[in-house]
Symmetry: C2
Subunit: 340 residues, 2 copies
Amino acid sequence: MTGIKALARHLDLSIGTVSRALNDKADVSPATRKRVLAAARELGYRPNHSGRALRQGRTSTIGLVLETGSPASLAGDAFFMQLIDAMQETFSAAGTDLVLLPCRSADDPIEFLRRQVGRRMVDALVITATRRQDPRIAMLVEEGMPFLALGRSGTPGDWPWIDLDFEGVADRAVAELAALGHRRIALVAPRKEVNLAHVWMDGYRAAIRRHGLEEHEGLMLRLSVSENGGRQAAEAVLGMDPRPTALLLVSEMMAPGVYARLGEAGLEPGRDLSVIGFRRNPQLGFLRPELAGFALDLRALGTAVGEAALGLAVSPADPVRLVWPMDYVPAASVRPPPAE
Amino acid sequence: MTGIKALARHLDLSIGTVSRALNDKADVSPATRKRVLAAARELGYRPNHSGRALRQGRTSTIGLVLETGSPASLAGDAFFMQLIDAMQETFSAAGTDLVLLPCRSADDPIEFLRRQVGRRMVDALVITATRRQDPRIAMLVEEGMPFLALGRSGTPGDWPWIDLDFEGVADRAVAELAALGHRRIALVAPRKEVNLAHVWMDGYRAAIRRHGLEEHEGLMLRLSVSENGGRQAAEAVLGMDPRPTALLLVSEMMAPGVYARLGEAGLEPGRDLSVIGFRRNPQLGFLRPELAGFALDLRALGTAVGEAALGLAVSPADPVRLVWPMDYVPAASVRPPPAE
DNA sequence: CTGTTAGCGCCTTCAT
DNA sequence: ATGAAGGCGCTAACAG
């Protein structure tokens, strides 16, 4: 028995008074409050989560759904771990907890979410890897479960989302390459049917057209987001005739594979093939030449995501819809195309 | 109101009867049970987690603590994601849920755990990255919170743990290399002060001594477990004089970095420097020559971990203590040392 | 076989 | 400023 009852008895106070003191409510004498807080700390009292949740009708917990077992979760994890870190900081200040809900890739995501919704273990959900048509969204809207999507989707409705600016990145990357004289730019998109793949490819297509560059569906590769996917991308580019002079990656995690495969072919990134990774990633600082990419402040993004998630319960109206901008950072992996 | 009360009213039954029917208790007529289950499905009834937890004194939820924000979490994540996937399968069959509890690297892990313990949101905890002296263990024992440690620790007591056979792997790897004629074997251990680093190094030292190989603390490198750490390992080996003829990695995720750095120096893994990665990882199938390592069935391990975790609540006595064996799988990255 | 009742731990209203 | 009491949703013991 480490509950509030024991604490109250220990202090020779009523449960109600102790509760008010702990929760910073009015109508408690300063002396009593102080005494209660001291005793609570001393006895290591923590409110029982279930009791509080039952009474208050909310759990002060937000769940982030993660897909496990899928190969794509792999490269993204470093990303998510940092994002989660920042989210949690924001939550912590608001007295909210973050739990990660692993959804088995083998399980039906709809069934998984429905279960979470019904259990009412979390007040809100953050879902990731949104699909172009995402039945999870319609379901959550219908069930009335507040949620934030990390990623847009074609699914209609006024639901809140935050997404990276894949379109803007593709646009800017193509512009940079075009300005240097590149005319054949290959693109790597995720193999998975996530929405961002389409945003990314659409952004690329539009930019290619705008700059009057070579337009050809064969220049767009769908590969797994991993080092090996990068190898395969380089492999594919090497096999193209005429060979593209630049390669645009949907994830910088593929770059080491690209570099390795180019090296094996006696080619050098930048000199023989310009490469733009998606996100500037300090973890890849070892790459030579340095990889051009787009700066992303994961801490700031995590804070924004955290705040949006916290706001879900508060203001269901006017949902967040935020495209997170990213700034191009040039590097030696991007140079003018080699002379033909 | 989607609770049991509404369901009972809808069926014109008492709450108690409905509850018994739903929970497969005795003393419910088959007809009633069928009717209740049908209505529950139709109305999408799911028991409220808090209500049930409060009443039963347990949450049927197990928490796995993850460190976020730390660089080491990075390479390990693919590992964990697969492990989690298998754990969850086991839990699911037992009606238990798995939640991941992200612990910020900036936060005090003891405080974090104490909080989780007090909240009683999970029935048991699985902790990872055990330290040589790990205050978390003493704390959890003292608080009476059932837990399973993924990793041993020098912390005394009869607490349950499951660990990979780092010692056996080091021993076998050294034996294989010695049999081929290697006499100078470099070792890479994690930079972080995790217990496995010491088990790993001790296993290596013992094996080196047993085989009468060159013994020198300078042959043991402490590096971050990442591709870049692998680069640094290769870099260090290249700088040693006399140069080691073999390199033993604590994680296969470092191998691409090793290969890349060797390639830059005009050296070839296997021919010029034998390399053994820790775990056979299909994800690294692209490496040439293929990387020698130790087979690990992550699904089986996940199942074992899941079962051990489920058993925590049941049988606090006789705690699991399991060293998970791994089998050596030779590959072309290991060859006799080059002629001097 | 079913209904009634008590109570898990907590917060909140109402009474004092 | 404090205590008493009710009830959040659920299950388990008991009564019928």
